[in-house]
Amino acid sequence: MWAFIHKLGSPKWFYGISAKLQPWFWAAAALLIVTGSLWGLAFAPADYQQGNSFRIIYVHVPAAFLAQSIFIAMAVSGLVFMVWKIKVADMAAAVMAPLGAAMTFVALFSGAVWGVPTWGTWWMWDARLTSMLILLFLYLGVIALRGAFTSRDSASRAASVLAMVGVINIPIIKYSVDWWYTLHQPASFTLTSRPAMPTEMWLPLVIMVLGFYCFFIALTLMRTRSEILRREANKRWVQELVTGQVVKVPAEEAR
C-alpha cells in the first residue's frame, strides 16, 4: 500500500500508469454521457408539473456534484502537497481548478435557465445560490493565486492553503437547503437516501453523474501528464522520452 502511494508520487511512474488508465476513463465517459443524455433528454418521462424543463436536471445535478467534488479533491491534493511535498499532487490540483470553475459555472448557468420557467426568476440571493457563487469565486481565487507568484513553490503553497480553507464552503452548500429557508428545494438525489423520483427518471441521472466523474478523471489524468512534461522538462527521462534517444545530462542535474 505505502509502496504504491510512494510510486504514485513519482512523476515518471505516474506518467506511465496514467497512460494505461486514461483510455478506459475516456471510453467510459463517452459511453455514459452519450447514453445518459439520449436517455434523459429523449426517453425519460416529462415531469408532472414542470414538463420538459425538468430535463435540465440531467446536466445541472452532475455539474453541481462535480463542482463540489473537484474542490474537495483539490483541497486533499493541496494537503498532500503541503505535508508530504508530493509534486504530482500539486500538479493535479493545478489542472483540476479550471475544470472545477467551469463545472460551477455550468451548474449556476443551468440553474438560472431552469429557474426562469419554474420559480419565475433566474437569480435569488438564497443560501444555496449564494454559497455556490462563492464556490465559483473560490475557484477563480485559486486560479488567480497560481498566476500571481513568480516562484512556483509560493504559488502552489498559496493555492493549496486557499483550497484547504475554502473547503469549509462545501458542507455549507450541501446543507444550506436544510439549515435555512431557501428558494432552492432540498436534494432529490443523494448517495444515501431513496431517490425522490421513479427509476425511469433516476437511472439516466445516475448514468450522467457517473459519466461526468469519468470525464473528470480522464481529463485530470491527461492534463496532469502534460503538466508533468512541462514541469519536468529538464529531467533526463522526459528528454529521452521526447527525443527518443539517450541524453547525456551533466552529473549535478541527474538527480
Binding site: 418521462p45 416529462a46 415531469d47 408532472y48 408539473q49 414542470q50 425538468f54 436536471i57 494537503l79 503541503m82 505535508v83 508530504w84 420557467p117 419554474t118 420559480w119 419565475g120 426568476t121 435569488m124 440571493w125 438564497d126 443560501a127 484547504m164 480553507v165 473547503v167 469549509i168 455549507i172 439549515w179 435555512w180 429557508y181 431557501t182 428558494l183 428545494q185 432540498p186 436534494a187 432529490s188 425522490a196 423520483m197 421513479p198 425511469e200 427518471m201
Partner: protein, 169 residues
Amino acid sequence: MTPKRKQKLFIILGLVSLAAIAVGLTLYALRANINLFFSPVQIAQGDAPMERQIRAGGMVKEGSVSRDPESLDVEFVVTDYVDDLEVYYSGILPDLFREGQGVVVIGELQADGRLYADKVLARHDENYMPPEVAQALEEAGYSPADYQAKAAEVGKRLDEEGVPQASEY
C-alpha cells in the same frame, strides 16, 4: 510520518478547524438573516417589519385563490399549516403557481395584516414524477395532506424550541 510532517499536518488541520469554527459562529449569529423568507408563523408573531419590503414563504392554501376576472389582481392565502397570511398581488403568476404549491412572495406587510406583493415566485419540492404517476397518486387519494402531516410536525417543533427571533431584516 516524520515528526516534522506530523507537526505540519496538525498545524494545517488546526488552522482549517479554526477557520471552520469562525465561519460556523458567523453563520450561527446570522442564522435568521440567512433565511430567504419569513414563514406565516413568524409574521403572526410580529417578527417581520411592517411597511418594508420583505419576503414571505409557505404553501398556497387549498381553495384560497380568488382571481378578479376583469384584471390581473389575485388574492390568496399563504400558509405553513400553523398560521395563515393573506396576500394581494397584481401581475402575472409563474407557471408553477397553484394551490398546494410552495411560493415565495416579495412585498410589503400593511397595517391591515395583508401582504401586498410586488413579485410572486414559485417553489417546487424535490419530488419529480411522470404525469401518469401523479394522476395515479391523486386517484389513490394523495393530496397536500402529506404536506400537512409534515407541517404539523414542524409546527410542534417550533412550539417546543421557540421560533428564532428575526432581528434586523
